[in-house]
Symmetry: C2
Subunit: 262 residues, 2 copies
């Protein structure tokens, strides 16, 4: 039941068959980062080992059940392969992707960093989501151990901080190491930043998400920060930065989501 | 010789023929934002009027001359169309794109903004690029009027500020209004942020760029800020935010570029 198993595929010629497994959904719809990880695994198998930059446009909700992924190599370069792919369910297309794949250098090669990982209390001093569910269980609760910064967890008690910010730790519940594909998942599993804004709490579907995998993480807790600066014109962005246990950047993400018109 | 003319196309069935015009290049290679604008214009013609989110992966340099663009509708939804496209030159593919198109709401619908436009001296107090060229003319000099914040223009005198930041104003030289496609251009025409870092000044080719058009600009100068937080593992990101004359967000961009390994 590991993440790796849950994103595995069977290859048949140029076509990859997989399955959206249960437990990765929010109210029946599979998490976008989980779908991106699954598709990227097939795209990497067809090209080069690591996702470097992957963009996905979300077409229809992914429901548990079979999907097929058809990676097409756009260009096989000297250092990178550009690949597009569609993930299709029994009835409709689910996501469309475009990505560059390559071999990730060690995250050690740090030339310049003008950002700090978020200052977080230790994981055991943060707020584990299971303790604060009011009613339905929080999503992925048996898969991912997410510990929110206490200041950013107040929305559970209907006292949002007023700042569209979510900071916290994450690891797999079973301590499975997080690989480059796992990072695509991690970038999309925290509660939406706007749960902490002084706005009506609403379902904000993702139109597009791009993640840049910047390094392979050291084992251990990942430190995450998600923030939103603009809720305008019917859209909002959510920017993610994830650092590994050694304090190095491992993924940077941005998604564009739809805000119900007010 | 306007931007609109220089990104125009001739449609022939499902295929769009255009031409990379001279004057949009840096040392012979067409600017990435210009190529994205040209491709997006064809993708919009095939689907819906405005680019909302467009990602491009750069495959080979665009040289002045004919190109063809073949947009494929991935999904025609109720509010958005998802479109992929390849721009191909006489010899090789140039860029591969994936985008969502729709109808942009007025930028007036502001729900929450947690960011300030950069504080800039008036355009006439900023540094126009023509005055500081040392040798070759700066790129796009007869197309775009770019005025850099004096603090961010010191790199022209080989005194970089030490901060990977570029702030300034932009408009078309001929005062042509900047439309949604022009915003894709604007997001990619400032000098690279790392010209202001204490690093050897190097050519940093773009692997991927995603722009989210968040509103249609009012006429007048646009206010821009480009910044980099991480130069690690052989890559750097460059994040752009562009505000219109009325102080509203109009485009948010991020590109992933390759840093020569050190």
């Amino acid at each position: 039941m590991s993440f790796t198993t849950d994103t595995s595929f069977v290859r048949e010629g140029d076509m990859y068959h997989s399955e959206i497994r249960p437990g990765w959904d929010i109210m029946g719809n599979a998490n976008g980062g989980y779908l991106m990880a699954m598709a990227a695994r097939a795209m990497a198998d067809a090209s080069r080992p690591h996702p470097i930059s992957v963009s996905a446009h979300f077409l229809s909700p992914g429901k548990p059940g079979p999907v097929s992924i058809s990676p097409t190599i756009v260009k096989q370069g000297r250092n990178f392969s550009t690949v597009r792919a569609s993930m299709v369910g029994p009835e409709k297309p689910i996501i469309e992707l475009l990505g560059s794949f390559g071999e990730l250098a060690s995250a050690d090669n740090v030339v310049l960093v003008d950002a700090e990982p978020p200052d977080l209390p230790a994981p055991h001093e943060c707020v584990a989501r299971e303790r604060h569910s009011s009613g339905a269980a929080p999503p992925f609760i048996d898969k991912l151990d997410i510990r929110l910064h206490p200041e950013d967890a107040l929305f559970y008690e209907n006292r949002p901080s007023g700042r569209p910010l979510m900071r916290g730790w994450i690891k797999m519940v079973d301590d499975e190491p997080i690989d480059a594909f796992g990072l695509l998942l991690v970038a999309d599993v925290f509660p939406p930043t706007i749960f902490n804004a002084d706005l009506p709490r609403a379902w904000v579907p993702t139109l597009e998400m791009t993640s840049h995998v910047r390094g392979l993480p050291e084992p251990g807790w990942l430190r995450c920060q998600f923030s939103t600066r603009f809720v305008t014109g019917g859209f909002l962005e959510e920017d993610g930065v994830v650092w590994d246990a050694s304090g190095k950047l491992v993924v940077q993400s941005r998604q564009l989501a739809l805000m119900p018109r007010t």
